[in-house]
């Protein structure tokens, strides 16, 4: 047992011993921290990791608290029935708000959450049934069998049992197939879609997860305080929760505990200190919180948990166990089968025609090079074929099926994998996780299975597959490094490994050799030949003519969005039209 693990064990002992040893005041404070941790945890995953900012979590806390308070006091339900009803109510509201706003840009959601928080606050404050601004009292305590959690010390056990379970579940979630996709949501959703991730659905999952955690906190709040009033669910509460998540940072789920502890303790202390200073009561603590938050945003946007994390056990990332079962493979079409047909493809950006009536086709087992001067429209063609962009006209068939109206994740499911011209990796995630994201469609375990760790067998096989592909492209030494720390050329190779992890039938490579040294280019060319021999079909955009000419079976030359010439490499090299397009002709 290392020193740091002993520190963690000591923390756990302190947490368990706290209610037995501490005076009532501190136990109460810890109860509040536990409640805030639940809400902040949802925000760490949603805001910190997935980049969805909500200022309205207090509304979900409030909905749950009022639902359970109303049902237990007015209708005589048991608190456990109240829990089910609260969470159902919160989930329904979150689904509605999420569906309405998640498709729009991020700030719409954030503004909507503020507006909705205000609306709910005034609703609670004005409904006679719910006691208007004086609230609902005489809410019963939660009981199991005959044991009621009716004091601060007993509630401590209940609150922290839920908080600890939620923390573990969230940690498990982030360390899974879904977790990799969630970590790509913030900056890399286009790439995630191209790996087959339904990013809209995943955002909704993350949003509902955060709302459910807030709802759980609301249920605990109602039965712990035995009283519910709208004042606990005002606009400022929502801002405070978000600040907790920002303070804690997104590096790991324990940031939620750090953020919740700092804000709760600081608030308690300032509420005591500041009114004495100003000789009035009021929310003076907002000044300190605001200044603190601005300084934090100015200095570091990672929160302060990373600084604290140095004192905690560092999880030495272990390479995946070798010998895990290989994930299912696709049946590759026989060599020579027509694989991709592009007919009359068009793309207009406003008045600019980037691709104009382009046609070509690819048979299984061949490498086709797409070349042309800068601005010829090659990358646009890639984006159209892979479904990242919607075509303005024409048709694309993959294995005989029309795919040009499909989103990129559906095309990925049909066996197309791609790399990006501008490297598109989640830079803070390890090379292994980045490549495993490519194998997303080869697994099927969802977020719930991940939280319960019911996904370990599949996860091991996905990671082992990712590791195999990383070894195959020659980056085994970098497997556990953050993808962003690699040189740009190597990052492109990581993209290739990610595409290979999808077990594609068609591979689209956008300038794979850019930034590679001579030896690395030779290795890459050898790899691509080997892949062709295995029956993989490759469409390649590349500027390095030496690399292209020695590798491809056929070439399509593009200029100004049109096919300039097509044929065998040797013929293309002699084609006067191509020479003119590249070298500007001979005057």
């Amino acid at each position: 047992m290392s020193l740091s693990w002993r520190a963690l064990a000591a923390c756990l002992v302190v947490l368990i011993a706290a209610p037995l040893l501490l005076p009532e005041f501190y136990v109460t404070l810890l109860d509040y921290i536990g409640l805030a941790t639940l809400v902040a945890l949802g925000l760490v995953v949603m805001t910190g990791v997935a980049g969805i900012v909500s200022f309205g979590q207090q509304a979900f806390v409030g909905i749950a608290a009022y639902t359970t308070a109303g049902l237990t006091t007015l209708a005589g339900w048991s608190p456990w029935g109240g829990l089910v009803a609260s969470l159902a109510c919160v989930a329904a509201c979150a689904l509605l708000i999420g569906l309405v706003t998640l498709r729009l840009s991020g700030h719409y959601l954030s503004i909507a959450t503020i507006a909705w928080g205000i609306a709910i606050y005034y609703l609670f404050g004005n409904l006679p049934l719910l006691g208007q601004y004086s609230g609902v009292d005489n809410v019963p305590a939660v009981a199991i069998g005959g044991f009621a959690f009716d004091t601060g010390r007993k509630s401590y056990v209940l609150i922290w049992a839920f908080a600890a379970a939620a923390l573990l579940a969230a940690r498990n979630l982030l360390d899974s197939r879904s977790g990799r996709a969630i970590r790509a949501l913030r900056f890399r959703s286009v790439m995630a879609e191209s790996c087959g991730v339904d990013t809209s659905a995943l955002k909704l999952v993350v949003f509902v997860h955060a709302a459910l955690l807030a709802g759980l906190a609301g249920w605990l709040h109602a039965h712990y305080l035995r009283f519910v009033s709208p004042h606990a669910f005002g606009v400022n509460a929502g801002i405070d929760y978000l600040f907790m998540a920002v303070i804690g940072g997104a590096s790991n789920v324990w940031g939620a505990v750090v953020g919740a502890s700092i804000m709760t303790v600081l608030k308690e202390w300032l509420k005591d200190l500041l009114p004495k200073l100003f000789q009035h009561t009021g929310n003076y603590e907002t000044i300190v919180f605001g200044v603190l938050m601005l300084l934090l945003l100015h200095r570091t946007r990672d929160g302060i948990a990373p600084a604290l994390a140095r004192w905690l056990p560092s999880r030495t990332a272990l390479p995946p166990p070798s010998g895990a079962r290989e994930p299912p493979r696709r049946v590759r079409p026989a060599a020579g089968t027509p694989l991709l047909q592009v007919q009359g493809l068009q793309k207009r950006f406003g008045g600019l025609v980037a691709v104009k009536d382009l046609s070509f086709s690819l048979a299984a087992g061949e490498i086709l090079g797409l070349i042309g001067p800068n601005g010829a429209g090659k990358s646009t063609v890639f984006n159209l074929v892979s479904g990242t962009l919607a075509a303005s006209g024409g048709a694309v068939h993959l294995l005989g099926e029309r795919v040009d109206r499909l989103p990129s994740r559906a095309i990925a499911r049909r066996g197309l994998a791609r790399t990006f011209q501008h490297v598109n990796l989640v830079s803070r995630m390890s090379v292994l996780d980045n490549v495993a994201l490519g194998a997303h469609l080869r697994g099927r375990k969802g977020s719930a299975a991940a939280m319960l760790r019911a996904d370990r067998g599949e996860e091991a096989s996905l990671l082992a597959e990712a590791a195999r592909q990383i070894e195959r492209v020659g980056l085994a030494g970098y497997m556990m490094d953050a993808a962003g720390s690699l040189p740009l050329g190597q990052q492109r190779v990581v993209e290739i490994a990610r595409a290979l992890a999808a077990d594609p039938v068609l591979l689209l490579l956008d300038e794979p050799a850019a930034g590679l040294r001579y030896g690395e280019k030779l290795a890459l060319a050898a790899l691509l030949r080997r892949l062709r021999a295995e029956g993989l079909t490759i469409l390649l955009v590349e500027h390095d003519m030496e690399f292209v000419m020695g590798l491809v079976d056929r070439l399509v030359v593009m200029d100004f969005g049109e096919v300039l010439a097509a044929g065998l490499p040797a013929d293309i090299q002699r084609d006067p039209v191509v020479v003119e397009a590249y070298l500007g002709g001979i005057e």
Binding site: R103, W116, A119, N126, V235, N236, Y284, T286
Partner: protein, 348 residues
């Protein structure tokens, strides 16, 4: 409801709607130029309303301390930057512009307050005190985050709002103030009795919007701001400093916020935290208008004013709930008609 009441409610709604429209335009402007969702706009409303009210009582408003303090902070930030860059020759200019001017305004306010000048001078003084706080806020809170994402800037806005509201409580206390109307006259138009203050509000809003339009269409600074809004990098390449654009945008937003505060303070009692709700209704208006078009935003804001007014008649206790819930169906409609996927934030 009879026609009389409907007309009366409509007049009330148009008056408030005119203010929301002005605020919605300012919010759009700041967002387009700086990508800041300017939540602190509301605090400028409170500051101006309370500053005017305090001046009318013949007392020195607490905002002068913020002005002096903000000036000192900005001056020290700029001085430190100048010294780091080895350009100590800039120090005198920094001292005069960043510290001297705010102190002079504060001194003027301290001299003028007990003398209870006329309403026009009091309003001018209120603007002189409150408006410089806008560029100061930009320099202190936003400038270090100029390259951050929209969402980080949004969080910063919430933090700035927290600070300004807390300071508002410190300098003005929890008591509300209502300032004197510019005129108490009433005009009878048919069956409708129109208060002069309503006419003032609507007229001032229309004048402001026209002035904004002229500024953006005709002046060089306005064109520079529009260029920055369309393409930040391009604007910088042709020599438009983004920092200047940011200061200018926040100065305009502060002016509009302060004007709104001055206009609305005779109609409703202003507390240190009243502004947030008024400002957010401007946001709702801007969202109803699609967060892109200025005329639509103004129209949306007018709609918010009318909705609020009629909601207060039918279901007065649920007025706020109705006004803030309206954006949900509007966003639903927008998300159904929008075909483009959300733009990805750039990694920082």
């Amino acid at each position: 409801m009879n026609g009389n009441i409907a007309l009366w409610l409509a007049q009330d709604g148009v008056t408030n709607g005119a203010i929301y429209a002005l605020l919605a335009l300012a919010l759009l402007l700041v967002f387009a130029v700086t990508r800041i969702i300017f939540v602190p706009q509301g605090d400028f409303i409170s500051y101006a309303g309370l500053t005017l009210g305090t001046l009318q009582l013949g007392q020195v408003p607490g905002t002068v301390y913020l002005l002096a303090g903000g000036g000192a902070i900005v001056a020290s930030i700029e001085a430190a930057a100048a010294l780091r860059a080895g350009k100590s020759t800039r120090l005198p200019r920094i001292a005069v512009v960043q510290l001297g001017v705010p102190l002079a305004i504060a001194a003027l306010a301290a001299w003028a307050a007990p003398r209870k000048l006329g309403p026009a001078l009091q309003m001018a003084l209120t603007l002189a005190i409150v408006v410089p706080l806008g560029p100061m806020l930009y320099r202190i809170a936003y400038r270090p985050l100029a390259n951050a994402s929209v969402l980080v800037l949004f969080i910063a806005s919430m933090a700035a709002h927290y600070v300004l509201t807390g300071l508002g409580l410190v300098i003005f206390g929890g008591e509300g103030l209502r300032s004197n109307a510019i005129s108490d006259a009433k005009f009878d138009v048919g069956i409708l009795r129109i208060g002069a203050q309503s006419v003032w509000v609507v007229a001032a809003s229309v004048v402001c919007m026209t002035a904004l339009w002229l500024f953006f269409e005709r002046s060089l600074y306005g064109k520079a701001l529009r260029a920055t809004a369309i393409n930040r990098v391009g604007a910088r390449l042709v020599g438009i400093p983004t920092a200047l654009a940011g200061r200018l945008a926040l100065a305009l937003a502060a002016t509009i916020g302060a004007l709104s505060g001055i206009l609305i303070s005779p109609i409703t009692t202003i507390y240190y935290d009243t502004g947030l709700m008024i400002g957010l209704k401007g946001f709702v208006g801007a969202i109803l208008g699609g967060m892109g078009s200025y005329p639509l935003a103004a129209l949306g804001a007018l709609g918010v004013g009318l909705l609020e007014s009629f909601a207060s008649f039918w279901a007065s206790s649920l007025k706020e709930t109705i006004v803030f819930t309206i954006i949900i169906p509007v966003l639903l409609w927008r998300s159904l008609v929008s075909r483009h996927p959300a733009v990805e934030d750039e990694e920082e």
